[in-house]
Symmetry: C3
Subunit: 469 residues, 3 copies
């Protein structure tokens, strides 16, 4: 198995390298045939060993940074929603991160990287796939040019839970806990790795020339579109949409917490994108840091400006979503889009997210944290942007990749969630929802020492809804 | 001094290496004799220099990650306790981190690594021990194979304050501030380095074959058992235990803050365990990342499940403690326990922590954040697990190590705390306790702009105590 | 341009190296002439390439750590001020970070590093300055000994926004949002890079022998003194100073949030100072980690002690400011001041910050978070300390550097802010201020689910003002 696995891993890298050479961004990369070592001692005494240590260390550090994104998601989700559901948000986020790691370890990893397969679905076997009888095959360049199997796994595992965590934000406040658990598990263990295998596992989209560097579509798009399927079936929070068609804002209960989350996500994204170089190549990793930062900054400023111009608000939540939009937008092409174009990609993403949040609200699809807009809609934009801004890629091919992965994921998510809806039911009772899931499902409040209010604590007659015009 | 110091440092590493070879996890490690350099120029021009840079950099980064664990501890401790003591928690945590670093720099470091000593107690002298007359001896492989003396010190210093910080959580809400200051200083400056020297300093437990990779016993066990000694002498918070034997839950006042803390602890633990490899060896560090993540994830899921099955609660605090339990559990054997066994070790730790928290509560030992259960009890489990799951280690030897270190620390802590109790007194007045330490000792509230409530802010008739059946 | 740019970059490094050699701290540094490569392939196949990867990776990681300092600043600023201005704080901090990155990318970077210039002001051109026609010149040691142009830029960009973020803390609670936006942009795009070019760009202060390793003056001093100019012109928050000369404390609304911020700043400072080595040199980076940690710890303990002795308070906010004071204090000499002297530098900084905060308050300069004291006053101390504690540096030269940079920045800031004051006005209306900027400017509260109080939530008759004697 591992040889095919390696083959695919290298194929991913070679595709990326080709892209860089085509776009004129990569200047020389010694892709000579790797020597083969017969023992670990031989490898560790070789001149290549030191470079392997650095590359491997960087991917481990990047994995730790992506780990922090899960705290970012938990903080954004709880900060941007009602206080009465905060324990529930925490519980869901801990569950999905932990389930994601284990499900990916035992099932998902070898679906996503199945080795030699038909390009649509493969399964290399349960577990991570390390064979202690042949360490060189897994712990030297014989596995991956720049990392051990353990590093490869942990980096990928940190990505895997992301998609399901994004869904958590969409369905917050009214989903039954065990429904989310079942759905999240299936998404991480089955759906995410299948679509992931089409590109990163060396499948049919890789053959086609589709390019998604760190996962605008493969990770963020999957989470966003799965969330959309869920909220269509789940329905809106009580009181969100009036019978007269009015939209009532339900304010985030803790803006500094949401801010902590957004900044931690940005920090983690340096690992998400920077680690996706799959080595510590100085030119490439530093380039990716710059495009990532510039797109995030442009996304925030653009979202601030657009929100001010079009709905006349100075909206901190939109500014935070603008950061995330810029980050999602650059993720597909962080290694091939120039810094100047990164500013444009981020600016457009920052505008898109504002209109997408408003538009989704008008559809009465209740997405409490704007995750469908941030991850789903900006994921499309980011993926297409590679075709638009980099001559060597085709917008059409990018579009095919988006349609295929969004389509599959939407159908999978809709099917699973519909099955759950019409069997065990997906929604908590109205009584539970009004009371808040913390007291209703968990029996404890998140903030027992503070006096809560039904309405806004500092409310004044001038209070205007954020998204309402 | 430095030669003996180096000797012991290398011995620690060699012991670990031996363990890895025995368990079949390490494949080749060029432990050839290090060449000796006469000047720094000579060393820096040598082929070994580059590998030294990487290894040293990784340990520095790991030190920064362990630093973040102190923010994790502060956040967990304040989030899981009452709002009225939050300023006090902050103050204590800042104090103990800063005192820990300085006490370890001036006293503790050379107790823990005394050089050649009798195996029970040694002291290499005050200060870190750098001699500017002989830089090569401290800044090249002549000191440690993979790091400078400064790196060695800062990594160890970040560990040292951990034990005392754990105690901070146990005694929170009713201890006199200056009592904690005195106790914490003595624990970091004297007790922790003495027991540490028995293994990591090359002392008698090292000779015996005891194995504690990153400190399930040496760090977490020490903190947990010292905390136990304190809370036995200190007594419970007012109102915690009724005269009729009832147990009243005192809820954490800020669950998202506790969540931030737990996630930051997990993040930092990648440095705590990963840095304990003492080099950036790709196979070993990546292996440790994987076992650490898998055990943490299994710990959380197990604690969630056990809490649901046995006390029918969906308890977010228990989920967070499950993460920490899994992390403490794997710490002793993160480099020698396979990923599959790591899942088992974590699962058992997650179950243990639930029952330990309930059991300790039944003993009327009031541990507000569950630190005795998480660090003390799971520290024992993690240390024994090395003997259980890895053939080359003896459960008996592991048990001897646990008994020796827990025993010494308990006696030290109990003696010091009793002396403080019967001289200056350890407990604040009942009036101060009820009022909260923030107003009573510090004269300021932590949250002056929010209306506080004596009872739970979102309380409703259905509110049930978390731990009560 | 790039050759001059490189020249200056190397000059900075050589100056630092010279300092280290003079102070006896650096033992050998192979500053041999760099070989020149004609293609990237040639460079990547060279023996130097691997060391370049490590050095470059470390600066990228350091940049990510400095990024986290911006979350630290946002958290400290919001935690230490009133709840009613929290959305505004968030909004300002997101804006200034994002604007800082973009302004520095398009304008500031080539003002600060203009290449060969007259030593007072230069401008290398708009943009970062990468020329894709000559990659070797920008992505190999031909650019900087240890990093690519992208790495150099992103590390410097993370520093650039810091100065303006410091100002944000000073003016919080009463400044018009767009005034801060204009002022912050000009500070980052023009003033900060000009004074920065005098030393780090190889200008006249560099020629003079002024030494500021990581920016006690160039970064923190600039932010602090610019903030001072603003608050003199802006005036105090309503109710802060009574007509009878009394000083009313306005308490921070969220002490754990401020604590999170201070710890994140400390964490990030390992990258701020450690990355300023501009390579991963093990002896130097590890030395900087140790001096940084020791000074921070000493600063906190000193501030705690001084606050207790002189105003009889156990003040957590002062402890946090003591950490930051110790960090600012060691920043100018983190690579040349011994650990023992670092303890002294930090202790003095911790005392200075307490008296400076009190003194500034007595001047009726209202600095809500103490940023002028922390960054401005301790920045002076740290810069002079290099001259005091390290024989090879002159106190007089250090003083000249401080006067020049503080003077220029004060005049720039005062001029710009006065121009804004007497044209568009800098202060929100009294009505807006009393209501809070969140409702008044943004139309949403930061904590809509909590009951707010005008006075202190846990207020009791014993409540005493923090700074009042």
């Amino acid at each position: 198995m591992h040889i095919n696995h390696t083959f695919n891993l290298m194929k991913k890298r070679i595709t990326a390298t080709t892209a860089l050479i085509l776009s004129g961004l990569l200047y020389g990369s010694p892709v000579a045939a790797e020597p083969v070592y017969s023992t670990m001692e031989e490898f560790m005494a070789s001149p290549e060993y030191v470079k392997f240590i650095i590359d491997n260390l960087w991917i481990l550090l990047a994995a730790a940074m992506v780990f922090i994104m899960h705290l970012g998601f938990a903080s954004v989700e709880s900060g941007m929603t009602a206080a009465k559901n905060t324990v529930n948000v925490t519980y869901k986020n801990v569950f999905i991160l932990c389930t994601g790691i284990l499900a990916y370890a035992f099932i998902g990893f070898q679906i996503m990287y199945p080795g030699d397969f038909n390009g649509w679905f493969g399964f290399g076997g349960f577990g991570i796939g390390f064979d202690s009888a042949d360490p060189v095959a897994f712990l030297s360049p014989a596995y991956g040019e720049d990392m051990t199997i353990w590093t490869d796994f942990i980096f990928q595992a940190m990505f895997a839970a992301t998609a399901a965590t994004i869904v958590s934000g969409c369905v917050t406040g009214r989903i039954k806990l065990h429904v989310f658990m079942i759905f999240g598990f299936l998404l991480v263990a089955i759906s995410y790795p299948i679509t992931g295998s089409w590109l990163w596992g060396g499948g049919w989209l890789d053959e086609l020339g589709f390019y998604d560097f760190a996962g605008s579509t493969l990770v963020h798009g999957v989470g966003g579109v799965a969330g959309l399927a869920c909220i269509i079936l789940l329905g809106a929070r009580k009181g969100k949409y009036g019978k007269d068609g009015s939209i009532k804002p339900i304010l985030g209960h803790n803006i500094p917490l949401a801010t902590v989350g957004a900044f931690l996500l940005w920090f983690g994204w340096f690992g998400f994108n920077g680690g996706s170089v799959l080595s510590a190549n100085p030119a490439e990793v530093s380039f990716v840091f710059v495009t990532t930062a510039i797109s995030a900054a442009a996304g925030a400023l653009s979202a601030m400006l657009v929100t001010k111009l079009f709905i006349n608000k100075l909206d901190a939540t939109m500014a935070l979503n603008g950061i995330l939009a810029g980050l999602v937008g650059i993720t597909a092409g962080a290694d091939v889009i120039s810094p100047l174009f990164a500013a444009i990609v981020g600016s457009i993403a920052g505008a898109i997210v504002v209109f997408a949040i408003i538009g989704i609200d008008k559809m009465k699809w209740d997405d409490p944290v704007g995750a469908v807009a941030v991850h789903g809609v900006c994921g499309i934009w980011g993926t297409l942007a590679v075709g638009i801004f980099v001559a060597e890629f085709s917008v059409l091919t990018q579009l095919i990749g988006v349609l295929a992965i969004y389509g599959f994921t939407f159908l999978f998510a809709f099917g699973v969630f519909a099955a759950l809806k019409y069997t065990i039911g997906v929604r908590v009772s109205e009584e539970f929802e009004l009371k808040g899931l913390d007291m209703a499902e968990h029996g404890v409040p998140a903030y027992p020492n503070f006096a809560g209010v039904e309405t806004n604590g500092f409310e004044s007659p001038e209070l205007k809804p954020v998204m309402d015009k």
